[in-house]
Symmetry: C2
Subunit: 583 residues, 2 copies
Amino acid sequence: MLGLGLALTFMTSALAYQFDNAKDPAYPVLLPTPRNLTFGSQTALIDPCFFAVTSNVTMKEGDTLKVDPKVITANIQEYVTNKVFYKGSDCPATANYLASNVVGLTAEITHQTADLLPPDLEDGDESYTLQVNSSAISIVANQYSGIIRALATLAQLTKYSYSTGRFTYAVKFAPINITDSPRYPYRGFMLDTSRRFFQESTLLQTLDILAAAKFNVFHWHIVDDDSFPFNLTTYPNVTKGGAFTPEQVYSVEQVKNIVAHAEKLGIRVVPEFDNPGHTRAVGFDSYFNEAIRCFMKDWSNNVPDAYRINGGPPTGVLDPSFDKTYELLVGIFTDFNTLFPDNMVHLGGDEVLQSCFNENPNLAKFMEDNNITDYDQLIVWHMAKARYTLQNINRDKKALYWSNEDTFYQEYKDGDILVYWGLAQNITNMTDIYPNQKYVMAPGDYYYMDCGFGNKYGEKAWCDPFKTWWKIYSFDPSDYITGTQCLGSEIAVWSELNGDQNLNVKLWPRGAAMADKLWSDKVPTDLVAIVQRQVAFAEYLNDRGIATSSVVGRWCEKNADHCFAAYPEAKAEKVEELFAATE
Amino acid sequence: MLGLGLALTFMTSALAYQFDNAKDPAYPVLLPTPRNLTFGSQTALIDPCFFAVTSNVTMKEGDTLKVDPKVITANIQEYVTNKVFYKGSDCPATANYLASNVVGLTAEITHQTADLLPPDLEDGDESYTLQVNSSAISIVANQYSGIIRALATLAQLTKYSYSTGRFTYAVKFAPINITDSPRYPYRGFMLDTSRRFFQESTLLQTLDILAAAKFNVFHWHIVDDDSFPFNLTTYPNVTKGGAFTPEQVYSVEQVKNIVAHAEKLGIRVVPEFDNPGHTRAVGFDSYFNEAIRCFMKDWSNNVPDAYRINGGPPTGVLDPSFDKTYELLVGIFTDFNTLFPDNMVHLGGDEVLQSCFNENPNLAKFMEDNNITDYDQLIVWHMAKARYTLQNINRDKKALYWSNEDTFYQEYKDGDILVYWGLAQNITNMTDIYPNQKYVMAPGDYYYMDCGFGNKYGEKAWCDPFKTWWKIYSFDPSDYITGTQCLGSEIAVWSELNGDQNLNVKLWPRGAAMADKLWSDKVPTDLVAIVQRQVAFAEYLNDRGIATSSVVGRWCEKNADHCFAAYPEAKAEKVEELFAATE
């Protein structure tokens, strides 16, 4: 009978554990997927004790490198030592030479700009070629950042392999030839360090993870209503009053370390001062307090709803009728200009609780004197003055703004960049209203990584449910904006419920889905390949001591082909239906 | 003007960091809340180098302790050393005596049973009294488990305090007098170790966390379709074939360690063999393979939907028409009987994919011969035989079963315990159908801790959304079953997306909400007090090196009174509305 028939086919393999038979993919699994990849069937062994890193830099015509060229070689060496040879090495005094013919890595930069990263995002060139054969590894890129992207690919290709009592590293599928470049120039990650403070070490590690997935922008939402952890040298009392505790402040030294670490990894740091809303923390300073509307400190009783955004913790709003408001902006943008070399600065502009303006009886007169008709126009007036204040300090700075369905009254000028956090379905409204702006897409219904855990009352939050790996993959900016008007996207992490302890398991590997999608050419999404990439990226992080979550069950991780084969080939439209039905 | 007025009140306090003014609760915050608590305003300092633990055991009449009484003192000493003095001690050879008058802890047990835990859950008595004054700590309990619950309370009361170069520990609010006992005898935690393997160290640490929140049952869903990590000594090839890898098996020694660690903490371990469904992993053994329906190993092509439960990984079903089916049960229950002293064994019985029975052409004849009319009755027939097989090996064993809306055709006998995992709203249907059973409540819409992260396709899962701390608090068994018919509840963790790396941050502190609710008298839920308990429990775990998540933002943690004061006093009914509106 049938059962018996099965049993017979069975006798021989009964003692094989399930995963003894599980087959690894017969090709390199890389996140993001390179544009062009050819590979072979050899395994290149690398002996870290006999591995030389050399680099050669040819400058772009007319440019002169501002740093010592040795810095570039040192940075590459550091990446190789820490990220590629991730388990270290054990080089004996008298080395017993190992079976490894890979003599080293040569990095060639052909059009380097004066700065490691060109001042403007759109002048960046992250393209690279990577070749790994049985004797050497070679990387060629136009700019420094391309070398770093190539190293990220190399690190994902390299696995620790213990052999004859010596640490070795193996690259399978050699010879490997990769020609690669990103689809979008802006692949960002936003972190809110105001609702909760993150240790410097967490930010440095997060930058390493971002680089591994080829993100290239860290949008640092450094202050907000809840706390002011930025060490404001121009007005130190703002920090002293607004920070949670003296320890929960990013010192000048720490900010410099974070910016330098990011630059080394080809990542731009975009600081944000969200204003005029979300500025309650400033009000703890006695000098600026009078310019903060809705500010309360010593709560005599309940916090009035008029002081909260959707029932959240109390907010504060900078009052445009006070000169001090712009003294503050001068102070903050002066510090930003000193510490953050990138030409992008985010000015916020979201969730201005207009009812707070009613608190100032003199505001009506002020508006009348300035021909400001309503609070919407008052905010437009303020944001224009904020931009002016920024560019008056450094004319090369570009202003970024939060944009969603509630801010379509806003007015922008050429060069302003809109970071859209509204619903994906309303993106087209925005691009109709502002046809001349450039955009970064951070739709809350796809890219808000903190969603799905409820609001502060443990009830449903506006952006629930949780954005699964597949939900993230299902959004593509090119479905909404074509051409170069879209700079790219960013995933956002608001930190009410995130901290040093759970950030990694909450974000990874799923957060890498955005970087994967935006780097690679848009292709029909193959569920098996996607899961293999998510699993491979999680293993990459685990190999380096970073905790992650899982996107599928263990059986499906090891049997992705069988687990998903029955599923109809997934296309974005299909996913849209699925989520339309489930939200 | 108003702004200026505010500024004036301000000049003095501008340099105070926000949390310098945050007030800690002026009373002991304990999770769960003790039934009766009185406290004072002194601080009792404890010097771990001068702290004696003594215990005195008076046996229940007619009982004789099966273990050396010294074991009880040793267990108490171990709890004090590891959990109360959580940062250790530094006792110099010649101690410079410290300003501490707390000379030690005396534990008095008045009605101890022969076993550390009485054989039957309902004979357990976890009540205790705890007194902490400036000179001594005393605990009195009827049984061993009461002492352990008291120690959990003491550990939450005790904070590390460094003083004059010596480690000391402080108990604030002394003198403290607590009289305490649980509302429900079964406060359980279920973990699935088949979809993903958990290290022994993870299970041991989880037991410590459970004890801290006064859980008292570990329901171990040890095997399932995906893998068979239980080391089956009676049929070792079942393990060899069904385990993921040789390393992902719980050895006999490890199971003994886990059971012993649990017993030491007053926690019962209830093993489960889910059958006849969810048994695919058994089919890898050539001997039992013929008794597993729907089993496929070498997938020639896609896994047929007929082999999956809701499109999940393939399942398997034990065929009642094979004698081998009951040989297997004898083997498994024999091993269970050897390794698990508790009298509760879970037989599963959920999600039997009946279409699999069609695979056996001989089954119709078998059913006819046994007067079995349909597949529902076939399953009833099998579960009865499974219970008989269990109790034939040990007549004292009680059978637990999964029960939900799909199993209301099931038939039970006195002593059978139903673990209900259906929707809360359908609990009353069940109790109408089975008025004579006892129940453990694990409603999937409140207590499934793995929900909210989507299914394996990254789409919505049946039990989404995420169960927030507040959702968990909003369920109370007494709203559905009164009296002793309800033994209690358990939270369930299915492990497709959980593993060693993310279990703690996914579960804690919110998972403790159930233990909190079921231990304490049912009271109107005070949001501020709940959040203070959740935050305190998270800090308890953090102090002991265990990572957690956050239930509210940092500002609300430190300003719970202001953060939640504007919120209408939360009652279960109110919460029901909220969730009805948001799901």
